[in-house]
Subunit: 208 residues, 2 copies
DNA sequence: CGCATAGTTTACCGTATGGTCCATAACGGA
DNA sequence: TCCGTTATGGACCATACGGTAAACTATGCG
C-alpha cells in the first residue's frame, strides 16, 4: 500500500561494502556511496539511517561472508589436516591475488576505527573469535585423527595459525612479496607437530 | 639575522606522529595537529609544507625508531637464538602492553593509505624489508651457531617470523586476548627446527 | 638605532562534508 | 478513481576541512 523500493537492500549493502573496503570509512564520502550504490541520499538515509549505520551493515555482511568462507574451506572433502591446509593455502592465494590491494575490510576497519568505535570493535572481535573457534575445531579433529601430535591444546595452536593468517594479510599490504606469504603458509603447516614416528618437519610438500 | 624558531622540529614531528598514530591520517584535522604540536598553522606550513608532508615526516620518524628498536633487541647479549627470542618476546609484550590500543603507525598507515599513496607504500615497504633483513641475519647466525637446524633458508624462516610478528600486532587490535599473542610468540620460537639430536618441539620454556 | 629576514598569529577563503527537507512519484486498498 | 503511504531525487544547510594571506613580532647585522 505504498511505493515499493526500487533496490535490493543486500545489493546496496554489498556495493557500499566494496566502496568502504577500497576507501576506508572516513575517506568514503556520501557522494562516493551514492555513486557506488546508485541510490540518492534520501533513499540511503531512509533505508539505513546514516553513514555509520550503513557501514556497520557492510561490516556485518563482510564478517558473515568471511566466516562462511572459512567454514567452507574447513568443510571440504579430505582429512582434517588437509582441510586446514586447504584453508591456509586459500588464504595465501587470496591475499596474493588481491592485486588491487583492496585488503580485508575487517583488518582495515580494525586499524582505522576499532580503538575508538565500540560497535566496530565488537564486530571485528566476533570475526576473530569465530575464526579461532573454527580453526581450533579443525586442529582438534586433526589431532584425534592422528595427523597432528596429541597433547597440544588445539586452542593454543589455533592462536598461532590465526596469527599467521592475519599476519599474511598484514604483510601483503605492506608490499611484501608473494613469496613471503607462500613461505609463511607452507612453513606453518609443516611445523605443526606431527605424531612421533611420522615425519613432516623438513619437507611439507608430501604431507599437505 | 632573522627571528629564530621557538620549537624543536623533531619534537613537533614526534607530537604529530603520536597524533596521527591515535587518529589516523584522514581523521586527523589541522586543528588536531596545531593542538598536539602547539604550533599555529602558519608555523606548521612554513616548516613542513602541508599535512601530507608532515605525515610523511612522522612516518619516517616512526619507521626509523621501529627499526632501531628491532636492531636493539637483536643486538642484546646472548646467543643469536636468545636474541631472536628476546625480540619476539619484546614485540609480544609491546603489543600486549599497548592498552590504549594506539597500534603500530606502520600497520595503520598501510591499512589506510598504502594502496593509494605511493609515498606511504614505499616507507611501509622499507620498514618491512629492513625488519626482514635483520631477522634473517639473526636466524642465519643462529644456524651457524648450531642453535637452529642448518639447511633451511634463513630468509624463508624470517618470512614466517615476520608474518607472525605482524600478525600479533594485527590480532591484538582485533581485540584478541593477550594469551593469543603470547601463545603465538612462544610457539613460533619453539617450532623453529632445531638441529637433529637436540629437542625443542614440545617444551619451549627450557630453550629460550 | 633601523632594516632586512624569517617566525608567528589570526583572520579568512573556497570547498567538500554529513545530513535534512520537500516536492514529486509510484504503489495498494477502498 | 482517489487517497494514504512510502520511496525517490535534488535542492539546500550548517559546519568543518585544508590551505592561504597578511599583519605583526623577534632576531642579527650594519
Amino acid at each position: 500500500m505504498a511505493r515499493p523500493r526500487t533496490f535490493d537492500e543486500d545489493q546496496v549493502v554489498c556495493a557500499a561494502r566494496d566502496q568502504f573496503r577500497t576507501t576506508g570509512y572516513t575517506a568514503t564520502s556520501l557522494d562516493d556511496l551514492t555513486a557506488a550504490t546508485g541510490l540518492g541520499r534520501g533513499s540511503l538515509y531512509g533505508a539505513f539511517g546514516d553513514k555509520h549505520a550503513l557501514f556497520l551493515r557492510a561490516l556485518d555482511s563482510y564478517r558473515d561472508e568471511a566466516i562462511a568462507a572459512i567454514r567452507a574451506d574447513l568443510s571440504t572433502a579430505g582429512s582434517p589436516l588437509m582441510r586446514l591446509a586447504a584453508h591456509v593455502h586459500a588464504m595465501a592465494a587470496f591475499v596474493i591475488g588481491d592485486t588491487a590491494q583492496r585488503g580485508c575490510l575487517m583488518a582495515k576497519s580494525a586499524a582505522e576505527l576499532a580503538s575508538t568505535d565500540p560497535e566496530v570493535a565488537r564486530r571485528v572481535n566476533q570475526f576473530l573469535t569465530e575464526a579461532h573457534g573454527l580453526l581450533a575445531e579443525c586442529i582438534d579433529a586433526a589431532q584425534r585423527a592422528g595427523e597432528l601430535a596429541p597433547g597440544h591444546d588445539p586452542a593454543q595452536q589455533a592462536n598461532l595459525v590465526l596469527v599467521v593468517l592475519r599476519g599474511m594479510e598484514a604483510v601483503i599490504r605492506c608490499g611484501a612479496p608473494p613469496s613471503m606469504v607462500r613461505d609463511a603458509a607452507e612453513q606453518i603447516l609443516a611445523l605443526l607437530p606431527r605424531p612421533t614416528g611420522a615425519a613432516g618437519s623438513s619437507d611439507p610438500s608430501d604431507r599437505v
